[in-house]
């Protein structure tokens, strides 16, 4: 669950970009209202000989949340909205993993997401220690290590890389699981959600 937030964060990076003079990463990032693109995720999990690869599309709406559409190898849709986190499988069955009214932890998820939406690296720094480094040609790299024990239980560290948008996420978990996500073909038009997309958030 928390991993997905981080992914969302990464995507929504709509983080303030850095100042033109290579001052901060915040100014380098674009802040679109709606961001669409493709992803490719690779996970190395304990006990699995092979890596788990999946591909699909995503939509990030600064206002409503994230729609993560896995197409290969097992189709499913995950919707992260302000109040809950839901997975829909190919056979139509849905599973609500976290609902804010039952688990306020989901509130943290959303709070983090909103911080990202607001382009608030400072909010992120409440939960993580940030090690920012700028790279040539407008690129940057941020390494996050969790501050609070609750997150430290789960995550070892996270590395984000990108320029105008976040291009990759590298997530290391305490248990030894590693997830790598690469984003491609990102565009921020149309700047509005289609009605079919908006409906998914309900």
């Amino acid at each position: 669950m928390i991993r997905s937030i981080l992914v969302a964060m990464a995507l929504l990076l709509s983080l303030p970009c850095f100042a033109a003079e290579g001052d901060s990463i915040r100014d380098r990032l674009a802040k679109p209202a709606v961001l669409r693109g493709k992803f490719e995720q690779t996970r190395h999990l304990q006990g699995f000989r092979n890596a788990l690869s999946s591909q699909g599309d995503f939509i990030v709406s600064r206002e409503r949340g994230v729609i993560w559409e896995t197409r290969k190898p097992f189709p499913s849709t995950t919707v992260i909205s302000k109040s809950r986190l839901m997975t829909r499988q190919a056979d139509g069955s849905t599973e609500i993993v976290f609902d804010k009214s039952h688990s306020p932890a989901a509130g943290i998820v959303n709070a983090l997401m909103l911080a990202l939406l607001g382009g608030d690296l400072d909010a992120l720094s409440k939960y993580f220690t940030l090690k920012e480094s700028t790279l040539p040609e407008g690129a940057w790299r941020v390494e996050l290590t969790p501050r609070k024990s609750a997150l430290a239980h789960v995550f070892e560290r996270i590395v984000l890389q990108g320029d105008r948008y976040v291009r990759s996420v590298h997530l290391e978990e305490k248990g030894g699981d590693v997830t790598d996500i690469i984003f491609q073909s990102m565009h921020d038009t149309p700047a509005e959600l289609e009605p079919s997309e908006a409906r998914q958030f309900e």
Binding site: T70, T78, A90, H102, D177
Partner: protein
């Protein structure tokens, strides 16, 4: 005749002895302020008593504060400021980590055997394919593997869901604090325990003041913070503060009123001093007798005793009224003349009070002993000391003469007369209609009366924290701990249905955290079967071979749980061994006005060892039973008093009792008209009315047509009305009704007693209007 000196000296010696005893007693003790001791002990069985005790124990020392703010971090820091502003000597903060990481680790060892009922249902009716798909989606989706363990160990994400279900909806542990969301705010919970080892009220609002001070500090840090406070100590303090105020007002108010009356009638300081002396000696004797008999005295007995003033002063007033009427008579002769009346008045009042003491409520027994001893002491003071102390010539006053003379003009009730019949009919009509409107009200909530603000906060806190209701619960017992846990589970199955239909929001039971061994075994088997099937399916789908990881599935034993700090919040639900059996409580959350209590009661049918307990209903039932018993004793009291009167007055005894009986009926009817319900304290008031009212009849018959008697009766009645009438000002509904009953009853008794006085010259064995000479001659 001077031979009667020795009673005075003897009494003096006794009084000094009592004073000494009191001096010694009060050096070491204070009035008992334990409110719980006043509640009737529900002596039904050991298990139920243990349950009641456990609940009361838990509740009476805890104070809970919720600090709320839209932002959690803000709430947390403000809560810290609040907590630091409270002196630990008054309120000790209670920290417990039962929702923290250490707790999670404790249960993790057993997690294979732990399932929620929801999970059990899902797994039992599981479609493995569907579950496998869900697991796959999670594996390949944007990283939703649950996070608490590696995926293989918990492919279905059962563990985090179990943990969240235990914490409760909306409650979570964050940064070392327990927090809950509600009303659009994030609340941080602070828990305190009162530092006093037993539950005492002392009239200071120490706890409330400390909380207010801390609130002020918190508000300077964050002006928009919301603070909610709840806890039994707050209610008790509010009641004590008000009780103290009332004791001061009623006690001093009535004493002052009596003294002013005496002044207006007798225009001299001496009557005031001597009457005050009788009251003082009476109080000392009352306290001494109570402390000697019970070893302690309760604050409420003192409050009640404060109104004893109105009764005990009758003796002194009778003396002075007679002295004013017969100024020339020798005091000892006068005493002998008055003795029959005084003695009979004492006997009837003491009989009435002792009938009160027959009630098995400890508070009432103390009051009965206090009052009887106090009256006796006041009587003895008048009898032993007044003749010696009050030798100077009494002053007369216009006020006294006017009142005394009004006796002759007072209407008499003579049956053949038209006015008498008319009056009787009206009286009967009023009585019947008033009594028919009377409602009975035995609700125990009538005994307490907390300020609305406190009650509102209590309700809000209870709602936010989903606190279980302490008034209704299930008592589960069995031969062994395992049997109790199994029976709890059977009950919970039925409760689940009620929860689904909205009658309840939840329940709390030990078996939530420690399922019975048989349940744990079944759950372990179920989850391992389903999990391995899912793993196999996923492995096939992925073309992987997934090495299974063993899930720790030790059986959680009750003893281990009880010993561990994680069981702190729910430990009190486990009663343990009582009377050779094991018992526990199942508490209910979200019991509201809509809940059908009868349905809850019926859920226990057919389940051996499970019992529905409704404490409010039980205590109210107890009060109703006492009310009924005391009404019978009241009738017995009337019979006893009638017997005593018949012994003295023979055929005219009814004249002494009739005014009181009529007054009782009329005042009750009036209360019926006013909508005041009939309850235990009303019956108590009738006891006092009997003791006081019959005195007036006695004086008027014993000394017929003696105007000074009428003066004594009037002064006495007005004094009593003033002292009990003030009780009607009490905010406690019970005392208020008590005061009103006395107010109306005594007024009617006063007004009606001369109506029934015998005609002059009637045949009887008592005195007619005597002259001073006759009294002296009778010597």
């Amino acid at each position: 005749m001077r031979a009667s000196r020795w009673p005075a000296w003897l009494w003096a010696a006794l009084v000094i002895a009592l004073c000494l005893q009191q001096a010694v007693f009060w050096r070491e003790s204070r009035p008992d302020t334990d409110v719980i001791a006043l509640l009737p002990g529900v002596q039904q069985d050991a298990m139920l008593t243990a349950a009641n005790q456990r609940i009361v124990e838990g509740a009476t020392q805890q104070v809970v504060v919720l600090v709320g703010s839209p932002d959690f971090e803000r709430a947390k820091s403000t809560a810290q400021i609040f907590q630091e502003a409270i002196p630990a000597s008054l309120l000790k903060p209670v920290t417990s980590d039962e929702a923290g990481d250490a707790a999670l680790d404790f249960y993790a060892t057993y997690r294979g055997s732990l399932l929620t009922s929801e999970q059990r249902r899902r797994l039992s009716h599981a479609d493995i394919t569907q579950l496998a798909n869900a697991a796959l989606a999670r594996l390949y989706g944007p990283g939703l593997a649950g996070g608490l363990t590696e995926w293989r160990a918990d492919p279905l994400g059962l563990w985090p869901m179990w943990w969240q279900a235990r914490l409760g909806k909306g409650i979570q542990s964050r940064d070392g604090r327990i927090s809950v969301s509600g009303n659009g705010l994030e609340w941080v919970l602070l828990r305190f325990e009162t530092a006093a080892s037993t539950f005492h009220i002392n009239g200071n609002s120490g706890i409330q003041a400390a909380l207010d001070n801390a609130s002020a500090r918190a508000r300077t840090a964050d002006p928009n913070v919301q603070i909610l406070e709840a806890g039994v100590p707050l209610h008790a303090e509010a009641a004590a503060v008000r009780g103290n105020w009332e004791m001061d007002t009623i006690g001093f108010g009535s004493m002052l009123a009596v003294l002013i009356l005496v002044w207006m009638a007798f225009r001299s300081l001496r009557p005031i001093l001597l009457v005050a002396l009788t009251l003082l000696v009476g109080t000392v004797a009352g306290v001494a007798a109570t402390t000697m008999l019970f070893g302690k005295i309760h604050v409420l007995t003192l409050v009640f005793g404060a109104s004893l003033v109105g009764v005990a002063e009758d003796f002194g007033i009778l003396w002075f009224a007679s002295r004013q009427a017969y100024p020339g008579t020798d005091t000892h002769a006068l005493l002998r003349h008055l003795m029959p009346g005084l003695a009979l008045a004492l006997v009837t009042s003491v009989l009435a009070y002792l009938a009160l003491g027959m009630a098995p409520l400890p508070g009432l027994q103390q009051m009965a002993v206090f009052s009887a001893a106090g009256l006796l002491a006041a009587f003895l003071t008048v009898v032993c000391w007044f003749p010696g102390l009050d030798r100077s010539a009494p002053r007369s006053s216009e006020f006294s003469r006017r009142i005394a003379d009004s006796l002759s003009n007072w209407p008499r009730w003579r049956l053949p007369g038209k006015s008498a019949i008319a009056a009787s009919l009206i009286a009967i009509a009023v009585i019947v209609s008033g009594l028919s409107r009377l409602q009975v009200h035995d609700d125990v909530r009538f005994l307490l009366n907390s300020p609305t603000a406190l009650l509102q906060q209590e309700r809000e806190v209870g709602r936010l924290l989903a606190l279980p209701s302490p008034a209704q619960f299930y008592l589960v017992s069995g031969a062994s701990a395992e049997e109790v846990l199994q029976r709890e589970e059977q009950l919970k199955q039925r409760l689940d249905e009620v929860v689904v239909h909205g009658g309840l929001s939840g329940y709390a039971a030990v078996s939530d955290w420690v399922p019975s061994a048989s349940r744990q075994g079944a759950d372990a088997r179920l989850s391992s079967t389903v999990e391995s099937a899912v793993l196999a399916k996923v492995a096939t789908a992925m073309g992987e071979s997934i090495a299974p990881v063993s899930v720790p599935a030790a059986r959680l034993g009750l003893d281990a749980w009880l010993k561990s700090p994680v069981s702190a919040p729910l430990r009190k639900l486990w009663l343990g061994k009582v009377d050779g059996r094991q018992g526990s409580l199942v508490m209910l959350q979200g019991l509201g006005a809509r809940t059908d209590l009868r349905r809850m009661q019926s859920l226990a049918h057919g389940l051996p060892g499970v019992r529905w307990v409704d404490r409010t209903h039980d205590i109210s039932g107890l009060l109703a039973r006492y009310r009924w018993m005391m009404t019978l004793m009241l009738v017995a009291g009337y019979v006893l008093v009638a017997a005593a009167l018949a012994w003295r007055f023979h055929r005219e005894a009814w004249r002494a009792l009739m005014p009181t009986a009529l007054a009782a009926l009329l005042s009750q009817a009036l209360l019926g008209w006013l909508g005041e319900p009939l309850q235990l304290f009303t019956v108590l008031a009738h006891f006092l009315l009997l003791g006081v009212g019959v005195d007036y009849g006695i004086f008027l018959i014993e000394y017929r047509d003696d105007p000074s008697m009428w003066l004594a009766v009037t002064l006495g009645a007005v004094g009593t009305v003033l002292s009990f009438g003030l009780l009607a000002l009490s905010a406690t509904p019970a005392l208020h009704t008590f005061g009103l009953t006395m107010l109306f009853g005594v007024t009617f008794a006063w007004l009606l007693s001369p109506c029934f006085r015998p005609a002059a010259g009637h045949v009887g064995s008592t005195h007619t209007g005597s002259t001073s000479q006759e009294i002296a001659d009778a010597d």
